[in-house]
C-alpha cells in the first residue's frame, strides 16, 4: 500500500497563539486504506491540529489538500462536503433527536434537497432507508427510535461514527473515539474501525495505546506541536525517543 497518492495531505501547517506555538510546521498524510494514528502527550497540540484540518481554526501557514485539492480556504461545512468526515472528542449528537433522527440528519446533508421545507422528514423513505443502513452497520438498528439522550455513552460514540460514515467521506478524522468506553467497548469499536478502513482511511487520535498499536498502519508522534517521530507500530514501540517523550511520561 506504500505509494498510493495520499487522500489527505497536510504540509507545513503552523499555528501560534501569542507566544505559544500550538502547531509547528506539521507534515502529515493519510493514504487510501490505512489508519494513521496520531499520538502524543496531553497538550501536544493534537486537538488544535484536528481543528485546523477540519476548518474550525485558521492556520497561520501551510497547506491542507484533500484528494489533491487545497481546502484551507473553505468553511467547516464546505470541507465536510468536500469529503472530510469527523467525530468529536466530546460526543456531539443532537440529544433531542432519536438515533434515527441523527442519522437522517447526516443522510439529508448528502442527499439532494437539503432545504426541504414541507415534506415530513420522518416519513421520507429517501432519508430513512440509508439512515437505517448506516445505523445497522454500527449495530444500532435496534436502537433507532431511542432518543440520543437516552443512549449509553458507547452507543452515542457508535452513533457519531455512523453519522460520520453516512456522509461517505473520503477521509475520517477520529478524535479519541475510545475515550470513556471501558475495556468492554474498545474491542468491538476496534473491529468496526478495522472493517471501515478499506473504504475510508482514517486519522486516529487516541490515548488507548493497545488500540492504537492494534489498529494503526502508521503512527505519528506529536510533541509540542511538532511531529517528532513517524513509523510503524513496532518502530514506535522500539523508539527510545518516543519512550522518553511519551511512553515514559504516560
Amino acid at each position: 500500500m506504500a505509494e498510493a497518492a495520499p487522500v489527505l495531505e497536510v504540509s507545513g501547517l503552523s499555528k501560534r497563539f501569542g507566544a505559544l506555538i500550538a502547531t509547528d510546521a506539521v507534515d502529515l498524510d493519510i493514504r487510501p486504506g490505512e489508519i494513521h494514528a496520531l499520538i502524543g502527550p496531553n497538550g501536544a497540540g493534537k486537538s488544535t491540529l484536528v481543528a485546523q484540518i477540519a476548518g474550525q481554526l485558521a492556520q497561520d501557514a501551510g497547506e491542507i489538500r484533500l484528494a489533491g485539492q487545497e481546502i484551507s480556504g473553505l468553511s467547516v461545512a464546505a470541507r465536510a462536503r468536500a469529503g472530510l468526515g469527523r467525530t468529536f472528542q466530546v460526543t456531539s449528537v443532537a440529544l433531542e433527536l432519536s438515533a434515527l433522527g441523527n442519522a437522517m440528519l447526516a443522510v439529508q446533508a448528502r442527499a439532494s434537497g437539503l432545504w426541504g421545507f414541507w415534506r415530513r422528514a420522518a416519513a421520507d423513505r429517501r432519508l430513512i432507508e440509508p439512515a437505517m443502513a448506516a445505523l445497522a452497520r454500527f449495530d444500532l438498528d435496534g436502537r433507532a427510535q431511542v432518543p440520543a439522550a437516552a443512549l449509553s455513552h458507547g452507543e452515542r460514540r457508535q452513533l457519531e461514527l455512523a453519522m460520520a460514515a453516512a456522509l461517505a467521506p473520503r477521509v475520517l478524522l477520529l478524535d479519541e473515539p475510545m475515550a470513556g468506553l471501558g475495556a468492554g467497548g474498545v474491542g468491538p469499536l476496534s473491529d468496526i474501525l478495522e472493517g471501515l478502513k478499506a473504504e475510508t482511511p482514517m486519522l486516529l487520535i487516541e490515548h488507548d495505546m493497545d488500540a492504537v498499536f492494534r489498529l494503526a498502519d502508521r503512527i505519528s508522534v506529536l510533541a509540542e506541536g511538532r511531529i517528532v517521530f513517524a513509523g510503524s507500530a513496532a518502530e514506535v514501540q522500539a523508539s527510545a525517543l518516543v519512550r522518553e517523550i511519551y511512553l515514559g511520561t504516560a
Binding site: 461545512a77 456531539s92 422528514a121 439522550a149 453519522m163
Partner: protein, 336 residues
C-alpha cells in the same frame, strides 16, 4: 443537556399526550368567540381575537427562539412593521394617495402579504448582521435594531410620530364582516391555524431538523456539510414574517398603530407568551398568549397594578416552572 438528563431521571409521572393537549387548546380557542357571540358578549369575542393575534406573534417568535435558539429581543420590530403596513395601506387607500408609487389597500389579504414581505425583508437585513454574533450579543443587537426602528417611527412625522396613526375602518376580508367581533376573531383564528400548520410542517421537515441541530450544536451541523448560518437566517426571516402578520391584525383589532407596538416591552411580552406556554412546543405560544390575556383581564379587573402580578407569575415560571404550561402537562419536549 440538563433538560434531557432531567427527562431520564424524572420519575414516571403521568403525562398527557401533547397532541391531545394541543387539540383541546385549539377547540377551546375556537369555542371561545363562538360562545361569547352566542351569549351576546361581543367584548369577549374581541378578547379571543386578541389572544389569537398575540398567539400568532408568539408562533412566529417560537420558530426563531424555540426551535432555532435565537433569543430575539427585537421581534417588536416585525410586529410594529406589520401594524404600520396595515395602517399606512388603509390610510393610502382612504385618501387615494398611494405609498411609494404603490396603491393603498383596505383589504386584509394584500395588506398581510405586504406586511409579511416587508417584515421578512427587514429581518433579512437584521438577521444577516445579528447572526454574525451569538449569545448575549445577539440578544442586545436584535434589541438595538428594534429600537432603531422604534425611534424612526417616533421621529418620522409623516406617519403620526409619537401619536401613531388611526385605522378609521377595519380592513376587509372576503366573505366576512370584519367589523363584527365574531367574524374578526374567526379571521384571526384562521391566520393562527395557517401559521401553526406552517410551523408544524417546517419543524418536522428536513429544514426543521437542520434548525434543531443548528441550535443544539452548530459545529456538528457544519461537520455534516450544512452551513448553520443560512438555516438560522431562513428561520429568522420566516419567524419575522409570521410576527409581522400578527402585527397587521393587531392594528386592525385596535383601530390604530403607535410606536409602542415597536417598543422593547412588546418584544419582551412576545417572549413571555412563548415561555409561559413552553418554548419549542408547537402550541406553546398559543397556551402562553391565552394565559397572558386571561391574566391581564382577570388581574386587571382587580387592580390597576396587574403588571406586578404578571411579573410575579413570570418570575415563578422562570425560577420553578421550566417548560411552561405545555411542559407541565406533557413533560419535556422531544423531536422525532
Amino acid at each position: 443537556m440538563a433538560e434531557a438528563a432531567a427527562e431520564i431521571a424524572a420519575p414516571a409521572r403521568r403525562r398527557l399526550p401533547e397532541w391531545a393537549v394541543n387539540a383541546a387548546i385549539a377547540a377551546a380557542l375556537l369555542a371561545w368567540p363562538l360562545l361569547a357571540d352566542a351569549a351576546g358578549e361581543p367584548w369577549w369575542a374581541g378578547l379571543a381575537a386578541k389572544a389569537a393575534i398575540l398567539a400568532l406573534a408568539g408562533v412566529g417568535l417560537n420558530l426563531a427562539l424555540g426551535y432555532g435558539g435565537m433569543v430575539s429581543l427585537g421581534h417588536a420590530a416585525f410586529f410594529g412593521i406589520g401594524g404600520y403596513v396595515a395602517a399606512i395601506s388603509a390610510d393610502a387607500a382612504f385618501s387615494g394617495a398611494g405609498v411609494l408609487g404603490l396603491p393603498g389597500s383596505d383589504r386584509m389579504l394584500p395588506i398581510w402579504l405586504a406586511a409579511m414581505a416587508l417584515s421578512a425583508l427587514v429581518a433579512l437585513g437584521i438577521g444577516a448582521i445579528s447572526l454574525r454574533t451569538e449569545g448575549v450579543y445577539f440578544i442586545m443587537i436584535t434589541l438595538a435594531f428594534a429600537q432603531m426602528i422604534y425611534y424612526l417611527a417616533i421621529s418620522w412625522p409623516a406617519y403620526g410620530g409619537e401619536d401613531g396613526m388611526p385605522i378609521y375602518l377595519r380592513n376587509g376580508f372576503p366573505g366576512m364582516d370584519t367589523n363584527a367581533p365574531l367574524d374578526f376573531a374567526l379571521v384571526c383564528l384562521g391566520a393562527l391555524a395557517a401559521a401553526l400548520l406552517l410551523s408544524w410542517r417546517l419543524t418536522e421537515a428536513r429544514f426543521g431538523r437542520a434548525l434543531i441541530c443548528a441550535r443544539m450544536n452548530p459545529l456538528r451541523l457544519a461537520t455534516l456539510g450544512m452551513e448553520p448560518f443560512p438555516v438560522k437566517l431562513a428561520a429568522f426571516v420566516i419567524s419575522a414574517a409570521i410576527t409581522g402578520l400578527a402585527g397587521a391584525l393587531y392594528a386592525d383589532l385596535n383601530g390604530y398603530v403607535s410606536p409602542a407596538m415597536l417598543g422593547w416591552h412588546t418584544s419582551g411580552e412576545i417572549i413571555v407568551f412563548v415561555i409561559l406556554g413552553g418554548t419549542g412546543r408547537l402550541f406553546g405560544p398559543v397556551a402562553g398568549a391565552v394565559l397572558y390575556v386571561w391574566l391581564e383581564t382577570l388581574l386587571g379587573g382587580v387592580t390597576v397594578h396587574w403588571q406586578m402580578g404578571l411579573g410575579l407569575v413570570l418570575l415563578g415560571v422562570v425560577l420553578f416552572g421550566r417548560g411552561g404550561l405545555i411542559g407541565l402537562l406533557c413533560g419535556a419536549r422531544r423531536h422525532g
